[in-house]
Amino acid sequence: MGILRALFLGIYLIAGIVQASELSVAIGVQDPSQLAMSGNVIPPNMPGSELIAFNDDLAREICRRINARCTVSFVPFSAVLPGVEDRRFDLGFGNLLRTPEREKRVAFSAPIWRSSSRLLGTPAAAEAFATKLGHPVSVDTLRDARVAALEGSQQLAFLNAIASQRGLAVSSRTTAQEVIEALRNNSVDFGLLSVQSAYALLNRDTTRQIEFIGSAVADRGLGGTVHIALPLQNDTLRRSVDQAIAAIRGDGSFQRIARRHFPLGLD
């Protein structure tokens, strides 16, 4: 009996070692200063820390469910997809919308939440453009303005697509915080960001210089389901992650993580 017990224990340990894989996780940051930090040391009162902490918690929970040891790296949003595409990262978090173009580059997990986009700007800019255009400013009515968006984002792709038609001067920024800064120093008239990213940054802004302008938009590629990016042709990992997401949703862990960082349900 002792020999058999030892044999089973050995098999179990070997199986555990084999199964426990190393995964590299990329999380898009909100502020350039966060690039050098790790999840444990990002101060909770930093701009955008909620979204990063949420992604960090979610990534660690998924890693725990799939029995993987994960190493988390904070990278600019624009570096998430290329990093996963080049297989430098196994999992990419960053409010990533699923689009046909992106599906050619990376695989996507099951949805983790839903997102929309909204214009940001100062009340003065909103009023000035409303007067100039003759009606309130929104994504649909915006024209002849300087607009910034996150580099590599769907918002930037959308603005670029309508720029010539609407007379827009489109520019990109590496992080969402840089878009906010550009609005503050009047480098741009408006910014187009995902609502969650903007909320995470503006939530702690007591100056209230920047506010949402117009209605949110979820169509035309500016909203929809948000996913985790994974390398193509790694169906085993994708299936494991999907199962973990289903389990996390099923037992209420997802809702607890979301409530820990946001005052509303994300899905």
Partner: protein
């Protein structure tokens, strides 16, 4: 003559193959119908799981988000500081931007109106605090509209499940009705099968069994109702043929027995058979203490008759004599051709005197009877009869005594009846 209408008959195997096939087809149809219902239930449950429940969850989230907008709107009015009001407004903008609200036009419009009104209120309140109380009545209407929408969405979500569940219940009830129908069908079919088996196999077999058990030549030929099963009909026909065969065998046996026990010329029983049945009859009579008489008779001058008229004439005389014998004696009396022109008699239940009178009357009748020979000549013959009391003796002893008396009758001049005791 009774004519029976021709009826088509079926081979049992063919009939049961047809029945089994019909049953299998009917059962298959019922099973297919039930399978269709099961498929519908599966489809409905899959739809419930894959479409309806996610849709319900979406409605619940939408209702939750709208309710959150309403509650944050209440906080805008109840907030004591501009920061608290701004915090609620900011949250309202965030929730109103959620895709779950944007994709539902009615909710999107309500959320947009609420957001616009509350932002306006916030802006006005930053300059004039009294605006809060002035705009509260209007907010009550917007809040009520949001509440009604939340209720509608909650009911709408629940109704989605109700529709699917109602459909599943309807299908299950239909399936239950079909199942009951199937059970009735199977029960009815089994009942029909039992009735058919009983009518066309079991009862005919019982009739055949009873008929074969009591099959006898003494019974009339068996009659069967017209069977529909070819095999049963064949067995019944074979039973009838068996009865006919038994009857034919019995007739042949009786014919052979007749030939073995009768004298070929006169038709009277022969000596061997007489000895068997006379002995049995004598023992029976003696057993009951009743009298019996044995007699031997012999035609007088029969050799001379043969020599004079020929053997054919002798045969004619013997045949005519035999006819007279049968006409003259009682049914209970036994007569045989003992050999040549000699005849033996048994008179049961007769005393010697009675037998003597009977024999004497017969002797006289023979003597008076004209016998026509083949050539047309009429002749008369006489005979002698010797009687012996057989009430207490064996047949052999009685025959011996009778023979002695016959000899005495011949010696005394023929054409007479002599009782053995008289010569003793």
């Amino acid at each position: 003559m009774v004519t029976r209408e021709f009826r088509e008959r079926y081979r049992a195997r063919t009939a049961f193959v047809i029945l089994a096939t019909t049953f299998a087809l009917l059962f298959g149809v019922v099973v297919a119908l039930l399978a269709m219902d099961q498929h519908r239930v599966l489809e409905a449950s899959q739809r419930l799981q894959q479409d309806t429940i996610p849709q319900i969850i979406r409605f619940q989230r939408l209702a939750r988000n709208l309710e959150q907008i309403r509650q944050e709107g209440e906080r805008v009015f109840s907030a004591t500081t501009p920061e608290g009001r701004q915090q609620s407004l900011f949250l309202i903008m965030l929730v109103a931007s959620h895709p779950s609200i944007l994709e539902h036009p009615q909710s999107a419009e309500a959320a947009r109106d609420a957001e616009r009104f509350l932002i306006e209120t916030g802006n006005l309140a930053s300059g004039d605090r009294s605006q809060i109380s002035q705009r509260h009545a209007e907010w009550q209407n917007i809040s009520k509209r949001l509440s009604l929408l939340v209720d509608d969405l909650s009911v709408q979500g629940a109704s989605l499940a109700t529709d699917d569940l109602n459909e599943m219940v309807a299908v299950m009830q239909l399936a239950r009705a079909k199942l009951i129908g199937a059970l009735i069908l199977v029960g009815g079919f089994l009942l029909l099968l039992i009735l058919l088996l009983n009518r066309h196999l079991i009862r005919p077999l019982q009739r055949i069994d009873q008929t074969l058990s009591s099959l006898s030549v003494d019974q009339p030929a068996p009659e069967f109702p017209d069977a529909r099963m070819a095999e049963i009909h064949a067995v019944e026909q074979a039973t009838r043929r068996l009865h006919d065969s038994l009857a034919a065998n019995e007739a042949a046996r009786r014919e052979l027995e007749l030939l073995a026990n009768r004298d070929g010329l006169t038709g009277l029983i022969n000596r061997r058979h007489f000895m068997v049945i006379a002995d049995a009859e004598l023992q029976h009579t003696q057993g009951q203490g009743r009298p019996a008489v044995i007699a031997l008779g012999d035609l007088d001058y029969f050799k001379r008759l043969n020599d004079t008229y020929g053997h054919a004439a002798g045969d004619t005389v013997l045949q005519a004599f035999a006819l007279l014998l049968e006409e003259s004696f009682r049914q209970s009396d036994l007569v045989c051709r003992y050999g040549g022109e000699e005849f033996a008699f048994l008179f049961p239940d007769s005393t010697v005197e009675q037998a003597r009178a009977l024999a004497d009357r017969f002797r006289q009748r023979v003597a008076d009877h004209d016998i026509r020979l083949p050539d047309g000549l009429l002749i008369r013959v006489t005979l002698c009869i010797g009687l012996a009391d057989a009430s207490k003796s064996t047949i052999e002893s009685a025959l011996h005594d009778a023979d002695f008396a016959l000899y005495e009758a011949k010696r005394l001049g023929r054409n007479r009846v002599i009782v053995a005791a008289e010569t003793a």
